[in-house]
Amino acid sequence: MLERIGVKAMAINDIYGFNSCNKIILPGMGSFDKCMIALNQSGLREELEYQVQSLKKPFLGICVGLQMLTRSSEEGVEKGLNWINGETVRFDRSRLTINEKIPNMGWLDIHFANKQLLSDNLQDSRFYFAHSYHVKVDKSENEWINAYYGYAFVAGVVSGNIYGVQFHPEKSHKFGMQLLKNFAELT
């Protein structure tokens, strides 16, 4: 998808791979614990933390890749990266109507809580979500994007050079490509 918008991309398999990249995307596919264990065992975690926290390379976590930024998840027992003050919780069934199923699966409107960040050409945009868990942040300054499913939830977080989105920009057609482009053009 990045190639389609003219951005060079590579998969990082070892710590030296980071040197060729000026931005990092962490996609998540799978359950919280599986993803955390995979990252911890990959041998990349320490270097990733250095690249993001010390070198301040722009970072985007997607779906579970966002949830991993929090300290914990109700989906599992592993510790998260704890780069963002917050936690990952299951959708609160008691606040959803009968027609609001879990997983939340499909296209939702998003709203930028912080309109300054990566929001170019994304007014009235919709993105594809597929998740049963969402993040809660301790401080509102870390809220970047909100969406509404039964109740308003945090669909995107930000902290300095660290971004995370619950939805899948890589699967969200024109708006998804626009968001990836906005991220790729960050300086």
Binding site: M1, E3, R4, M29, G30, S31, K34, V64, E75, R93, I98, N99, E100, K101, I102, P103, N104, M105, G106, W107, L108, R126, Y128, A130, H131, S132, Y148, Y149, H168, E170, K171, S172, H173, K174, G176, M177
Partner: protein, 253 residues
């Protein structure tokens, strides 16, 4: 509000899109990747690729196809057909599939659903059910692409699968499939209103009003169709415009 989804389905045999009526009489409908990309551009909300190839080479070819789809398509897609293990799913997800659908293998070994949900999360595990209403009025589960009848009732199996971790149900009525006479509203409604996961209705969509019925009367979360799109009987932008006119929440093209 969450949008109702329109999902074109591409049945794949030996790398080509095919479509039959009531699961037989296959017709060629073109290159699946080209067709999928066209649908994405026209406003499809998701795609489903079902591989009905039955050869030993199948696994490898399916992975290659999924990889090609992922490189050309910027909306979510589900892959199904002969998936029977965690390793199968892992390979397909690594090649870019977003969700996988299981059918016969899951029925024979329900633990598979549990294992897949634990490994990859419920949101990527779609349970496909082929069901037929018999003369006694009950909906029964069929396996092996609709060739093998079981004694299991559709609702009971769907409920069990959801308890095991299936995150979505793709429900195909064999009575309606290929008839273009409308979706199976009663069984779809039963699943959609009584199960806590999204239900994709499949089989019988032949006119735009059928989609209104399946969303409003049957409360389906998504509707899947194949031949009406492949053979250009209904174009997706036209269908979405029609649904919007009926005040159904959809994603504008």
């Amino acid at each position: 509000m969450l949008c109702k989804r329109i999902i074109p389905c591409l049945d794949i045999k030996d790398g080509r899109t095919v479509k039959g009526t009531n699961f037989v009489n296959l017709r060629d409908a073109g290159d699946p990747v080209e067709l999928g990309a066209l649908y994405a551009q026209q406003g499809a909300d998701e795609l489903v690729f079902l591989d009905i190839t039955a050869t030993v080479e199948k696994r490898k070819t399916l992975r290659e196809l999924v990889n090609r789809i992922a490189h050309h398509i910027n909306i979510p897609f589900t892959v199904g057909g002969g998936i029977s293990s965690v390793d199968d799913v892992s390979a397909l997800l690594q090649n870019g599939a977003d969700k996988i659908s299981v059918n016969t293998a899951a029925f024979k070994d329900p633990q598979l659903i549990h294992d897949l949900a634990r490994e990859f999360g419920s949101q990527c595990v779609v349970l496909a059910i082929d069901t037929r209403q018999e003369e006694d009025g009950e909906w029964y589960v069929y396996l092996n692409g609709g060739r093998t009848k079981t004694d299991a009732r559709c609702f009971d199996w769907a409920k069990q699968a959801v308890e095991l971790g299936a995150g979505e149900i793709l429900l195909t009525s064999m009575n309606h499939d290929g008839t273009k006479a409308g979706f199976a509203l009663d069984i779809t409604r039963k699943l959609a209103t009584q199960l806590p996961v999204p239900v994709i209705a499949s089989g019988g969509g032949g006119a735009m009003e059928h989609f209104v019925d399946v969303f409003e009367q049957a409360q389906a979360d998504a509707a899947l169709a194949a031949s009406i799109f492949h053979f250009k009987e209904i174009a997706i932008p036209e269908l979405k415009g029609y649904l919007q006119g009926k005040n159904i929440e959809i994603r504008p093209v």
